[in-house]
């Protein structure tokens, strides 16, 4: 069974020309999948469809085998959580603590249990020292980590990250990325779908889906897709730094074993 499954889904904003047409998509359970596509290729639209913020005009969407419809929206939302792009526009509470409590309040969690949960999940993203800080005094990366902790505290089965790092500086990007890496290792039963046009995030994916103009172009492993210059070019994507570097090494006739791990490559050289 797939965590997320789109079956012949068609969707267009305001019933205009569809942005997505007859889309079929499968996100495997417990895996770290990266959905790659350039700006405007329909990635956010797919994310919003999956969590029921948008309603498709045609086709079916299944979450953990349950068909998404108006009646089971609540059930679906307790399974799927999402972190959006803009750190400011998803910070609802007046402090870190209150923002993390917001989702728990919606889930009707007993207020007496909340403090312990907030502490626990804030620790996971290394924000436990900022629990009483207001959002104006936090960096973008810190706000995104709070957003992440807030949705993790709701204990979802599926986590969607919609360009969660694209508005952050390199340090902020790395902080979020490290947390996700750790999640991948520690909570292997959680499905993670990372939506991005930032190709470096795809290096450690279990599966990569390349999207263009609302259509799935290719599904595969990092090793297969990321070395395919033609494929990347056609979809307005740029090869990750390490692969560009390896190309150069090849041209310079320096012998090495191709790898996606920077440390490994450095060791070889």
């Amino acid at each position: 069974m797939d965590a997320i499954k789109f079956e012949n889904v068609t969707f267009g904003y305001h019933n205009q020309t569809p942005i997505i047409e007859n889309l079929n998509l499968e996100i495997k359970k417990g895996k770290y999948t990266v959905l790659l596509g350039h700006n405007g290729s329909g990635k956010s639209t797919i994310a919003k469809l999956a969590i029921g913020l948008l309603e498709c005009q045609d086709g079916n969407i299944f979450i953990d085998g349950i068909e998404l419809n108006e009646k089971n929206l609540n059930q679906i939302r307790s399974k799927v959580a999402i972190v959006f792009q803009n750190p400011d526009n998803q910070f609802i509470g007046s402090t870190v603590r209150d923002d993390m409590a917001f989702g728990l309040e919606n889930k009707c969690v007993d207020p007496n249990l909340m403090d312990a949960m907030i502490e626990e999940y804030a620790k996971k993203v290394n924000m436990h020292e900022f629990l009483d800080t207001e959002p104006t005094n936090l960096s973008g990366g810190q706000k995104q980590r709070v957003a992440l902790a807030g949705v993790l505290a709701m204990q979802p089965d599926i986590l969607i990250l919609d360009e969660a790092t694209s508005m952050l500086d390199p340090i902020g990007k790395k902080e979020i990325f490290d947390v996700i890496q750790e999640l991948k290792v520690k909570r292997s039963e959680m499905t993670i779908l990372s939506i991005t046009h930032h190709i470096e995030e795809a290096l450690f994916a279990d599966e990569i889906i390349i999207l263009n103009n609302g259509k799935v172009v290719k599904v595969g492993l990092p090793n297969d897709l990321l070395y395919d210059q033609n494929l990347l070019n056609q979809n307005a994507l740029e090869a990750p730094f390490i692969i560009q570097l390896e190309e150069k090494l090849k041209q310079a006739n320096i012998p090495f074993e191709p790898t996606l791990d920077v440390k490994e490559l450095v060791k070889q050289l």
Binding site: Q90, N106, C108
Partner: protein
């Protein structure tokens, strides 16, 4: 320009006032507002002023903060004074060259300004000692009796989100102003028409971004299972203590005392009533 807004800003501390229950403080503010608009007479106003002074001392707010928050009042004071100059023609006339000023014009102005001063001071004490979040919770709790006819939770959620986004939008305003200034828009100099044009170049992008923001915020809230009509629990709890009851009863007694004094006419012997003054205006 944006950073020196003091009116309504919370000042973190741990004084007696900070520790009072926000619901108690909100009720006190209501009671105080009613009291201010009763005609109290000289003694009443002095007593009230002393009460406010005591509150200031207890809440440890610096004098500077008060004066800053009173800044917008200077203009109003002059405005009221000028109007009174033309309207009030009672009391002792003083001749300054061609102009005649009546003593009651000055008294009436002082009275209004004093009331405004008390009003702004108490509001400042309230907002400086109560976290915005606690204010919204207090509102939600105090107006809970309205639940059968309206969703009080939505109201308090709206207020708390508005408060949460004020700094964000101020930051954005600053950024847009800088961006437009770097394109040659002048917000400071020029004729009124040019200024209006400059302001438009600020307002429009600001609105566009605010709408985009609210859209994303709504999505983020909904994605986190928010439904204002569904049942939900609340993380923040308020704790009503004995001292809250005590303070509340004290101030109700004070209010009752003032009302009795005003009704029995005791106050009138000290100063002309504001109602009489208004009546005289319509004659």
């Amino acid at each position: 320009m944006m950073s020196n807004i003091t009116l309504g800003r919370y000042i973190p501390n741990n004084t007696f006032f900070h520790r009072l229950d926000p619901r108690c403080k909100l009720l006190l503010l209501f009671i105080f507002m009613i009291t201010i608009f009763i005609n109290l007479g000289m003694i009443g106003y002095i007593v009230l002023g002393l009460v406010v002074l005591l509150c200031f001392i207890l809440s440890k707010i610096s004098i500077l903060t008060i004066f800053k928050s009173l800044k917008p009042m200077w203009f109003m004071m002059i405005f009221i004074f000028v109007i009174n100059l033309f309207v009030v023609k009672t009391g002792t006339p003083w001749h300054l060259g061609k102009i005649t000023i009546y003593s009651n014009a000055i008294f009436a102005t002082l009275k209004i300004v004093y009331r405004l001063f008390l009003l702004i001071s108490t509001s400042t004490i309230f907002t400086a000692t109560t976290k915005p979040l606690d204010i919204t919770i207090a509102i939600e709790d105090l107006f809970a009796f309205l639940k059968p006819i309206m969703n009080v939770h939505i109201l308090s959620m709206m207020i708390s989100i508005a408060l949460r986004f004020i700094p964000t939008i101020l930051e954005e305003t600053n950024r847009i102003m800088k961006a437009q200034a770097s394109r040659g828009v002048d917000f400071v100099h020029g004729k009124l028409k040019e200024k209006a044009k400059a302001i438009t170049s600020l307002i429009i992008p600001l609105f566009v971004s605010a709408f985009a923001r609210s859209d994303e915020l709504a999505n983020a809230m909904e994605a986190r299972s928010y439904n204002p009509y569904a049942q939900r629990t609340r993380y923040r709890k308020l704790h009503w203590q004995f001292k809250d009851s005590l303070i509340l009863i004290l101030s109700i007694v004070l209010l009752a005392g003032f009302i009795t004094l005003a009704i029995t006419g005791f106050a009138k012997t000290w100063n002309t009533s504001i109602f009489e003054w208004i009546k005289g205006w319509f004659k």
